[in-house]
Symmetry: C2
Subunit: 495 residues, 2 copies
């Protein structure tokens, strides 16, 4: 067998074991009994240790070297590069650190859940300290003596360094702060009332299923469950979406369903012949977030999207939405107002939430901020960025699950928003009649375009190459800022 | 670190990875989307391969040898013996065979599910052929050139050889065939009507939860879900029970709940300090089945058990059971009549179902019966053992999941019935007022006795030693036969 093929076998195994770890994580957040968390942490640690060992097995490095001398197609050569990158990253981290990280993250998840429920940061703090310390150690290993945050970030954004983020996110934040201040002072104010009231869970689940089916999510190759913090996991024939519903407000359910199903369509849309190998897998978390954000914001918060949603709302809650207009739904989905919770934020404030977290996690990893100081630092940052007071930690620094394991992840949300705006702009140019189709609930043309251009591309190109090839432009904050200025300017009657 | 401690670490890892495989299996039978089965098979194969590698790693054999020279407590020495036994078994099977088996079994599970639904044996046949061939190969490896069935059987019944089964099961079957013929000709006939009618699922789920809670199953450390073929999995803080309900007949749900919760109590009752090591784990599948059978039959099908069940039935379906007597429930639960389905069988015919499967699987493994001949052989055996005709394969040779992977497993059910009768006899002698407590729904004393005598004992003793130490007798078919003769004789007015 060629060295290249041996490598592929090993990476397929790695991928399947990754799928196992993902399922354990999904189960942990949906169905695991309360007393099962300690053993789940051991299971995840054992699995992480084995995955690490199998990738750092000296034979793998040998196969990589040998494969470099073999005759390979360009696709195989790209795959080899990606495998080598993963192997280097695994080899940079001692196995013990990899298993400790998995164990600590699983324990932190359970502590976070309980701490958030009880609004008791102190219960989470020792776990967070442990995860931060391990993340620092991991980041240092990965950065080879450089900035540990750079090492962590690259896990989610291969090839992206913190300096690039510094060029993209601060101008975005500045533009959005200016825009939110204009909105706050605007003569027109919008209301979400048309989507608020009393919407029983059963109806909302029916709505959720209608939405994902309309988007083209294949429920024979996936599921939809409830979770305290919505997420999606898995790929191809087993993609699991979760959501969280609020009886008094449909926006939470609609937003999270569109978001997670956007992720799910990416995973179901991968090239099945390559999806077990690095070259066929999603390119980055930023690109993943672009898929969720595109459906949640570019589609869901547009006027054509509102017309589609209204049709679905009428089908499930006919007495409530019979006389409502698409324009009213559009306005309700675009209320701009500062709030405590990231996942409930409007499109403008959302990115400010991200910038806040990005700042705090960089300082935690750099050792400039102690875990004990986090609640106060969070309050100060919310005051500064969003101009609001934080009444408790549950709706403050305990609201997100990410810091139970994923440092360097938050910026990918803002990147996803940038990419989504650029991609949707390109889709409008390239798919004839796109907005009319969306308004009529015909979502297949958009989905097909995304599948062809993004999903099936996998990791054949780098992210920069892919965005350039689809949109003709490099990644930039301008398209998002401009589209938001135009939409919000019109809705709020800004001069 | 001592060699013994290194071994323990390795076996803890093995145990946690086993827990992962169990969860994947649970998920496969409960929540996995239809299109996820192919990749699940790959995941299970990858995991089986790694578990196998980690146990056959040459260092493990070295540690075993070194540990034999170390100073160990008797408990540690027993643990070492059990570890050595498992290592020998793993080393006897080539890794490729272990992964092929896992992959084939997962694929066979999905094929079985579809074939059973469609009553189409042909769809399952090629998978069964593949599993039989792999089981033969595996059995030959494990038996070191001896009877392959012996090698397979020992997986579930350490230390038990086919000759012992030959001494226990045929006399049991003979006695039961005689007894069923007397029942068929009895002047009195019982009716299940009091437990039949229309019982909506929601009420049956409430009943199921009441029953497991009454038995002392800890729902903070476990779950209860639906599955096409009821099973239980997991241990300690994460024990998952499944059941299957029939709207028209409460007996299916009651029986499977008591059965699976009996398994679950065993797993939740293990000594938490030892449960990750072989010495703290369940002793055998026969002993496991004894725990489920004890609750299902010795308790559930006794008059005191019927009094307890009636109380629970009245709480959930008051209008239906207000005027019913415990005696009537007792009679309904003890209807003896030959039927097609093992899991719905009465206590007498149940063991005949097992003897039938035992005979057929021995012939399959010995190469004396071809897979293509199985449906006809099944029909012939049902005619011979139970005197009934089999109208289709769905209710014939496709009814059980076991032959998707577990050859050598079926006899453990009959062993479990034998052990359950012996254990329950001992409990009645050793727990003062046991039957009055059960009738009053006070199940804690029986559960506590089982926990002390059986669950926490783990694998400290061999099965033969454990049974002898608790009951003062060796394993025998006589106690079960005698208790059934007495009960059925009284109920059916046999002379």
């Amino acid at each position: 067998m060629r060295a290249y093929d041996q490598l592929c076998d090993r990476f397929r195994e790695h991928h399947h074991l990754g799928g196992v770890a993902e399922l354990l994580g999904w189960d942990q957040q949906t169905y695991l009994p309360a007393k099962g968390h300690a053993r789940r942490a051991e299971q995840l640690a054992a699995l992480a240790g084995l995955r690490h060992q199998r990738l750092t097995d000296p034979r793998v490095a040998g196969w990589i070297e040998a494969a470099r001398a073999e005759v390979l197609t360009p696709l195989a050569r790209r795959n080899l590069e990606l495998m080598a990158w993963r192997q280097r990253r695994a080899a940079a981290v001692p196995e013990r650190l990899a298993t400790d990280y998995a164990r600590a993250a699983a324990a932190a998840w359970e502590a976070w859940r309980a701490a958030r429920q009880a609004d008791d940061f102190a219960r989470f703090a020792p776990h967070l300290e442990r995860v931060v310390a391990l993340a620092q150690a991991r980041g240092r290993c990965l950065a080879g003596g450089g900035d540990p945050y750079a090492g962590l970030l690259e896990e989610y954004e291969p090839g992206l360094d913190p300096a690039t983020l510094e060029c993209l996110l601060p101008p975005l934040a500045e533009g959005l702060v200016r825009l939110t201040r204009r909105v706050a002072a605007a003569p027109v104010q919008l209301s979400p009332a048309v989507l608020q009231g009393d919407f029983p869970e059963a109806g909302q689940w029916r709505l959720a299923h209608r939405l994902v089916v309309a988007m083209g999510f294949d429920l024979d190759g996936g599921r939809l469950d409830a979770a305290p913090h919505p997420f999606s996991s898995g790929s191809l024939g087993d993609v699991r979406l979760t959501t969280r519903l609020r009886r008094a407000d449909l926006r939470e359910g609609i937003g999270s369903i569109l978001h997670e199903a956007g992720h799910g369509l990416y995973e179901q849309g991968l090239d099945p012949d390559l999806a077990d190998l690095p070259v066929g897998q999603p390119l980055s978390m930023g690109l993943h977030e672009s898929q969720s954000r595109l459906w949640e914001n570019q589609v869901g918060r547009s006027l054509p999207g509102a017309a589609w949603l209204l049709g679905e709302l009428r089908a499930v809650f006919p007495e409530r939405f019979g006389a409502v207009t698409a324009e009213a739904v559009y306005r309700a989905l675009n209320v701009v107002t500062p709030g405590l919770i990231r996942t409930e934020a409007d499109e403008l404030h959302y990115n400010l939430h991200i910038c806040l977290r990005w700042e705090l996690e960089r300082r935690l990893i750099a050792g400039e901020l102690e875990v004990a100081e986090l609640p106060a630092a969070w309050r100060a940052a919310m005051e500064r960025w969003l101009g609001i007071e934080v009444p408790n930690d549950r709706d403050g620094c305990l609201q997100d699950v990410h810091w139970t394991s994923d440092f360097g992840y938050f910026p990918t949300y803002a990147l996803g928003n940038l990419v989504a705006a650029q991609l949707y702009g390109a889709a409008r140019e390239q798919v004839a009649g796109l907005e009319g189709q969306i308004a009529a609930g015909e979502l297949a043309p958009l989905r097909g375009w995304l599948r062809d251009r993004v999903h099936r591309a996998g990791s054949r190109l780098t992210q920069a190459e892919l965005i350039q090839s689809i949109t003709g432009q490099p990644l930039s904050e301008r398209p998002l800022l401009e589209s938001l200025e135009a939409k919000v300017g019109a809705l709020y009657g800004l001069g």
